[in-house]
């Protein structure tokens, strides 16, 4: 076999069905397992983290596999993948794997090979001094951020992804290469409420949000979109059919009903919603996926909006550091961020992180009442005194 260098390859546009191969699915996984994995499939007994980013898994057969986990920007080039292949060819008999959180894992069957590989990997730096393959992302630390496309390749984002992730990971780098937090912290990033990144159960979620209602391209909408689809796209019925002065079909938007979800724009390009001043990043905290000790839970909005201050997002980074610092100082061993916040109470979360609480953080969508506190069990913080003062309860 050889790849074709013909402009259209072996594809014949006049005869697209000829020799067409479809529905073959993915390649089979077994061929890609290193020998030590094949030999010990289903026989692993336990594992240990030898140092941040480096694990050994021990089989019932006595075999061991050493894994070096490296962070990666999920947006990468073939040149970078070729360098990954160079490492895999040199140290791992040509095998490599990627994790669900965009990390790269190099596996080998001996401690010595692992040590040599680690040295090689650590020596690979960019011309600007950054790591190409930072080793870490295991245990009680911050691992790689899963994220979406952002301005790189998406038509609906409210912020950018790759730059925000780079900005955050540069600042929390020591948590990636270390394991000093009370438990793992999973940060996830999605550029809009469509949430391709499904970040809604993360310890810390960064979410691009809009704050201005869509504008309508009145002269074009009827030609480009199905008006009934656009009106049906709004979960709150804020969009209704209308006519322009010249009698063209269009829609009108009840702005006070808009919750800025952007679903209308997903359905119709003639109602753009993005806006430089309006768009930004919401921060959610305290979600988790694992069933460990407590059940999986949603992340809660703790910062309704922070500015899209490209390229380094200092305000967002600052909030994240505040959350991580407070969590690191006060949570118990094994306690995930959300479990900590629930134990101390969210009122204490806001006090300890020094993040302001505002009415934007009180739910007013479906099932909102379930999140209202209907007990006298709360803790006094400054926020409570502010309420009491305002109503004349205290001086």
């Amino acid at each position: 076999m050889a790849l074709s260098t013909e402009r259209l390859g072996k594809y014949d546009p006049n005869n697209p069905q000829e020799n067409r191969v479809t529905d073959i699915g993915p390649r089979h996984f077994w061929q890609y397992f290193p020998e030590v994995i094949k030999n010990n499939y289903g026989k692993w007994a336990y594992h240990d983290i030898l140092e941040p980013g480096i694990m050994v898994h021990v089989s019932e057969t006595g075999d061991k596999v050493f894994t070096v986990r490296c962070g990666g920007a999920r947006f990468m080039t073939v040149e970078h993948v070729r360098e990954i292949c160079d490492i895999a060819d040199k140290h791992c008999d040509g095998h490599v794997r990627f994790t669900t959180r965009n990390n790269i894992e190099f596996l080998t069957d001996s401690h010595d090979k692992m040590v040599a590989m680690k040295e090689d990997i650590n020596s690979r730096k960019t011309p600007h001094g950054g790591f190409k393959f930072p080793i870490g992302g295991t245990g009680a630390g911050v691992t790689n951020i899963v994220h979406t496309q952002g301005f790189i390749h998406c038509h609906t984002p409210a912020t950018d992804a790759s730059s925000l992730v780079k900005a955050v990971m540069d600042e929390v780098f020591d948590y990636f290469t270390g394991m000093e937090l009370p438990a793992k912290v999973r940060i996830s990033m999605a550029c809009c409420l469509n949430m391709c990144g499904a970040v809604h159960c993360s310890d810390i979620a960064l979410l691009g949000v809009h704050r201005k209602p869509p504008i309508v391209d009145h002269e074009y909408i009827d030609a480009i979109c199905e008006i009934p689809l656009v009106t049906a796209a709004c979960p709150l019925g804020a969009i209704s059919p209308s006519k322009t002065e010249s009698g063209k079909k269009t829609v009108k938007i009840k702005e006070e009903r808009c919750m800025f979800c952007g679903n209308c724009y997903t359905m119709c390009p003639s109602v753009p919603i993005s806006d430089k001043e309006g768009d930004g990043v919401a921060i959610l905290a305290g979600g988790k996926l694992s069933n460990r000790m407590t059940v999986p839970k949603f992340s809660k909005v703790v910062v309704p909006w922070a500015p899209n201050n490209f390229p380094r997002f200092p305000e967002v980074v600052d909030y994240i550091k505040k959350i991580l610092n407070a969590y690191s100082e006060s949570a118990n061993k094994y306690e995930r961020l959300g479990d900590w916040a629930e134990r101390i109470g969210w009122e204490k979360f806001f006090e300890k992180t020094d993040i302001p609480f505002s009415e934007h953080l009180i739910d007013d969508y479906r099932l909102a009442y379930d999140s209202y506190r209907t007990s006298t069990q709360f803790k006094f913080t400054q926020a409570a005194w502010d309420v009491s003062k305002k109503v004349g309860g205290i001086d």
């Binding site: 390859g9 336990y46 983290i49 962070g71 080039t77 073939v78 965009n102 960019t126 609906t156 394991m179």
Partner: protein, 472 residues
């Protein structure tokens, strides 16, 4: 043991397949890279080259330099596409808005998914990315590869596309970012014929299923996640490539309740490995943890001095069901009351293992917030054996799909349909009785929708008969 592919897997040999020579692949020096500037002014992107974390900008500039130094006929799409992408990204920062147009119907013949059209709205300034479509490539289960495959994919994609990709997209595919409409069919042809590799899902299809690392390198996996993922992906190729659903549908396979692929939050049908017998205990190893000879939680917390390991405080008292105790130095577990949360197993992996009688718990209905708010999957089938070819599971899947295709509205995810139609109705579709495991608590309101057949005598009553006992 070994798992067999559905069809023979073609051996890919990069040396035979390759497009670029070694000289072409090493056509620039570190020094050139260091001093390399793209033609657009991108101050914000330059800033993102600093700092310890891998810089996607530095990486992209490297690809741009490499492309620039290739001969023109060695690339089939614009030589400048990477540099133009960076230029457009800087402009997006300046404007605070994306510069990609809405969609565009492109694809490969016979498929309704796997390709996403993308066009720049500033094509005059950045002609290299005027049309810059995405292809989703169905990853191998749990994302193991060899370098023959990856290098071949890289050559193909650099030659026929931008050379930019995601390893991997959110759903699990390898994402190839950026090529022209002309090259979509040739890329697909090369992939299916030379790489024996199909596209993934997009649109109202079965989306590309994904799984955790499973038994390949994890002691906790209760199911063969890769095999289940592969088998169901292959079995439902039609559903994956041709839109026939109200909206997207995702399968994800987690080997245990730790949930490393997030199935409970991210899939319409979440498969989570579990066991129904007893946790296996090695009492000698329990003592090793107590005596400090083994590191708790496999060393996850070694970055800080948390003090000496205390099994009472760190394991027994943290058990959510309080089903553990230490009696005369022996760890006891009241397995009937264990809810398999994995905490004790995570903390003492050498001493505790999931039981031997394994299967899956199946949950339904997770989704991100659009539109009705985020939902997690609802525990519906507590335990099911999961053995190839998984016919029992396929039956469940097809019943659920039939109902959803019949009842679901346009862009209504399964979880939203369950919410609209009630869990009770969904249980009838799955064909299972109600069980207390499906709810966190019974309902608090007494508004029960009794059916006529629930009540002796039915709903038909005679008001005159009533009035014979009660005056008006």
């Amino acid at each position: 043991m070994a798992f067999e592919p559905k069809e023979e897997q073609k051996t890919i040999n990069y040396e035979e397949a390759r497009i670029y020579s070694q000289e072409e692949l090493s056509n620039y020096t570190e020094e050139e890279l260091k001093n390399y500037k793209i033609k657009h002014d991108v101050p914000d992107l330059d800033d993102l080259e600093k700092g310890p974390w891998p810089s996607f900008v530095t990486d992209a500039k490297r690809e741009d330099l490499h492309r620039k130094k290739l001969n023109d006929e060695r690339l089939l799409i614009s030589k400048n596409c990477v540099e133009d992408l960076l230029g457009q990204l800087q402009l997006s920062f300046d404007h605070g808005e994306t510069h990609w147009k809405h969609g565009g119907i492109v694809g490969v013949f016979g498929y309704g998914g796997g390709v996403i059209g993308r066009y720049s709205d500033v094509q005059e300034d950045f002609p290299g990315v005027a049309s810059f479509h995405t292809l989703r490539v169905n990853q191998a289960a749990s994302k193991f590869y060899d370098t023959n495959y990856l290098r071949t994919l890289c050559d193909m994609w650099e030659y026929r596309g931008s050379g930019l990709l995601n390893m991997h997209g959110s759903t699990g595919d390898i994402i190839l970012l950026g090529t022209t409409t002309e090259q979509l069919e040739p890329v697909f042809h090369e992939m299916t014929h030379e790489l024996q590799q199909d596209l993934g899902g997009s649109g109202s299809n079965l989306r590309t299923p994904s799984c955790c690392i499973g038994k390949a390198r994890c002691e906790w996996s209760c199911i063969d996640t890769q095999d289940m993922c592969y088998e169901l992906t292959q079995f439902y190729q039609d559903e994956l490539h041709r839109p026939m659903f109200p909206y997207k549908f995702k399968f994800k396979f987690d080997g245990c309740p730790n949930g490393c692929v997030a199935s409970i939050a991210r899939s319409d049908m979440s498969f989570i490995g579990t066991w129904k017998d007893n946790i296996k205990i090695d009492q000698d190893k329990v003592k090793a943890y107590i005596n400090g000879e083994a590191q708790p939680n496999a060393g996850s917390h070694n970055g800080r001095d948390w003090g000496k390991f205390d099994i009472q405080k760190e394991v027994i008292d943290r058990c959510p069901t309080g089903c553990m105790s230490l009696e005369n130095g022996e760890l006891k577990i009241d397995n009937e009351n264990c809810n398999r949360c994995m905490h004790c197993i995570n903390v003492m992996p050498q001493a505790l293992r999931p039981g031997d009688d394994k299967g899956v718990t199946i949950l339904f209905g997770a989704k991100a917030p659009i539109l009705e708010g985020a939902q997690m999957s609802v525990m519906t089938i507590p335990f099911m054996k999961a053995e190839p070819p998984y016919d029992n599971i396929k039956d469940v899947i097809e019943n659920v799909w039939d109902w959803w295709m019949e009842e679901g509205k346009n862009r209504e995810r399964l979880g939203e349909l369950i919410q609209r139609k009630t869990l009770q109705e969904f249980l009838k579709v799955v064909g299972v009785p109600a069980a207390p495991q499906m709810v966190t608590a019974p309902r608090a309101n007494p508004y029960i929708f009794w059916k006529e057949e629930d009540v002796p005598g039915g709903f038909e009553r005679d008001v005159e008969d009533y009035r014979s006992r009660h005056k008006r």
